[in-house]
C-alpha cells in the first residue's frame, strides 16, 4: 500500500494517546441528620437507604429492592423537618441538610395505625413480617369491632366504584372473599391482599412486561384483577410466577404451598434452601430450591444476583418436576 492509494484504502493515523473508557458519572456525598446523627450518603440514595446504611430498621411492606417504589403502604413514613406531612422514606430522595426523625411519636402513631388498618381488614396470617411489625408498634386491630363476614364469591369483584352500603356500626368491614383457584400453578387469595402493587409492577414494567394484572375498582373495593376479571388462564398471564415471588402476604401462592398449608404439612423450619443455576437456558438465573422431606416445595430467586434480580420464568419457577421423576 502506498500514498498513492485512494484515501479509503489508507489506514488511519496512529492515535497519539490510548483510548480511555468514559469516566463514571460522579455521585456526590451529601450530609443530613437522622435521629440526631450526622450522616453522609450518596446523593442518589433514598431516605430508606440512608436509614439502613446506619442500621436504623425501617419497616416496609410495599417496597422491594428490585421494584420501583410506589409508596402506597405508608408504613415507612418518617418525620422530615419543615414538611407538613410525614414523608415516605422508600421513595423520597435524600437532600443536603435534611433533618429526619424515624421514631418520633407521630411516626410511631402513623405506623401503628397503618398496621391496625391492615390487620383489621386483611388476613395477615401468612405474613410473618407484618405480624412482627404489629407486635413492634403495639397495633391492636381488634379495637375497630368484630370483623365482617366474608363476602360471597364474586361479590367484591362486582362492586361499583363510588357506591357502598351504609355501615350499621356493628362490625369492621374486611376484604375477605373465597380464594380463587382457576389454574394448576397459583392460588389467589384476595382476602390476604394489602394492595402493595408489587405483583402489578412485577407483571408489568419492572420485570415481566406482560401486564396481565392491575388494580381494578376504587377505594376499599379496589382489588388486583385480570383484564375484565377473566380467569388467569384466559388472561395475558404467562405463569412466570414473579407476582408470587414478590407478594409479601401470601395472597398469591404456589398451589403446592397452598395445598400443603391446607393439609398443615407446610413447615418452614424443616425446609432447606439450596441455591443452584437454572438448567434450562443460557441466561443462568440463580434458583433457590426450598426442599422439605426431600421434595422441592417452592422455587425462589435471590434479589441480589444481577442475572435475574429475583425474577424467573415459568420453567425456572415451576419446571422442577423432572428432578423428582
Amino acid at each position: 500500500m502506498s500514498t498513492s492509494d485512494p484515501i479509503w484504502f489508507r489506514p488511519p493515523p496512529r492515535a497519539s494517546r490510548p483510548a480511555t473508557a468514559p469516566e463514571e458519572p460522579s455521585t456526590e456525598q451529601i450530609e443530613l441528620v437522622i435521629d440526631d446523627r450526622d450522616i453522609r450518603v450518596d446523593e442518589t440514595s433514598t431516605i430508606l437507604e440512608a436509614c439502613r446504611s446506619v442500621g436504623i430498621d425501617t419497616p416496609t411492606l410495599c417496597h422491594l429492592e428490585n421494584l420501583t417504589p410506589v409508596n402506597a403502604c405508608r408504613i415507612c413514613v418518617v418525620e422530615l423537618e419543615g414538611s407538613r406531612t410525614l414523608v415516605p422514606s422508600c421513595s423520597r430522595r435524600v437532600e443536603a441538610g435534611m433533618e429526619i426523625r424515624t421514631d418520633s411519636e407521630r411516626v410511631r402513631l402513623a405506623r401503628r395505625m397503618v398496621l391496625e388498618f391492615l390487620g383489621s381488614s386483611v388476613d395477615l396470617s401468612t405474613s410473618p413480617q407484618a405480624q412482627a411489625y404489629m407486635q413492634r408498634y403495639g397495633a391492636r386491630p381488634d379495637r375497630y369491632g368484630p370483623p365482617s363476614t366474608t363476602a360471597p364469591r364474586g361479590d367484591r369483584d362486582a362492586r361499583e366504584a363510588g357506591h357502598h352500603s351504609v355501615p350499621a356500626g356493628t362490625c369492621a368491614e374486611n376484604v375477605g372473599q373465597p380464594t380463587k383457584v382457576d389454574n394448576e400453578l397459583y392460588v389467589r387469595d384476595p382476602g390476604k391482599c394489602i394492595l402493595c402493587y408489587k405483583c402489578v409492577e412485577a407483571c408489568g414494567e419492572d420485570a415481566q412486561n406482560t401486564f396481565a394484572i392491575a388494580v381494578a375498582g376504587r377505594g376499599f373495593d379496589a382489588r388486583i384483577s385480570t383484564e375484565a376479571n377473566v380467569p388467569l388462564p384466559e388472561s395475558a398471564c404467562v405463569f412466570c410466577g414473579n407476582c408470587i415471588g414478590v407478594c409479601p402476604t401470601g395472597a398469591l401462592m404456589f398451589s403446592s404451598e397452598h395445598t400443603m398449608r391446607e393439609a398443615e404439612t407446610w413447615d418452614d423450619s424443616r425446609q432447606k434452601k439450596t441455591d443452584t443455576i437454572c438448567p434450562y437456558c443460557g441466561v443462568g438465573c440463580t434458583l433457590t430450591l426450598h426442599v422439605q422431606d426431600n421434595r422441592i416445595v417452592k422455587v425462589t430467586s435471590p434479589l441480589d444476583i444481577e442475572v435475574a434480580n429475583g425474577h424467573l420464568c415459568i420453567k425456572g419457577r415451576f419446571g422442577f418436576k423432572f428432578v423428582e421423576d
Binding site: L86, V114, S121, G162, H164, G219
Partner: protein, 145 residues
C-alpha cells in the same frame, strides 16, 4: 319566621364546622386562617336547628369513603373506619364509651392527615373532627336506631 342559627360549615366536604359563636367570621383568607377554619372552596353552608347534624356527618363520611381512590392505606381504610366509628356513635353502640371513640377518631384523623399521599386523605377527617370539637353533634343518649 326565623329559626335558630346553629352551626355553619365552611369550605366544602373537607371544611370546618363552627358554632354560633363564630357568627361574625369574615369570609377572607386572613379571617378564616386566624380562626383556624379552612376556607377551601369558599362555600359556607348555614344550618338551622331542624337539620340533623348526625345525618350531615354521615353523608360526609360516606362521601370520602366513596371518593378515596384506594392507593394508600391510611385513606383507603381510614375513611371506612371513620364512617363505621360515626355509625357506632350515632347508633348508640360505641366501643368502650364515647370518649374512647373520640380518641380513636382523633388517631384515625391523624394518620390520614400525616401519612396519606394526597390532599383528599389528608383532609378527609377535617369536617367530622371539627364538628366534634366545636359542636356537640351526637350528644350522649341521642341514639338513633
Amino acid at each position: 319566621m326565623g329559626r335558630a342559627f346553629v352551626p355553619s360549615y365552611w369550605g366544602g366536604a373537607d371544611g370546618t364546622f363552627v358554632g354560633p359563636d363564630k357568627r361574625g367570621l369574615p369570609l377572607t383568607f386572613e379571617g378564616t386562617r386566624a380562626a383556624g377554619v379552612s376556607l377551601s372552596s369558599g362555600v359556607v353552608m348555614v344550618l338551622d336547628d331542624e337539620v340533623d347534624l348526625g345525618d350531615v356527618l354521615a353523608r360526609i363520611a360516606a362521601f370520602f369513603r366513596d371518593e378515596t381512590c384506594g392507593q394508600c392505606v391510611p385513606c383507603r381504610i381510614g375513611t371506612v373506619r371513620q364512617e363505621e366509628l360515626l355509625a357506632r356513635v350515632r347508633h348508640g353502640r360505641p366501643i368502650g364509651g364515647r370518649s374512647h371513640e373520640l380518641a380513636l377518631l382523633a388517631e384515625i384523623g391523624q394518620v390520614m392527615r400525616d401519612a396519606s399521599i394526597c390532599g383528599l386523605g389528608q383532609t378527609a377527617s377535617n369536617a367530622i373532627e371539627s364538628a366534634f370539637a366545636n359542636l356537640d353533634p351526637l350528644p350522649e343518649g341521642s341514639t338513633k336506631e
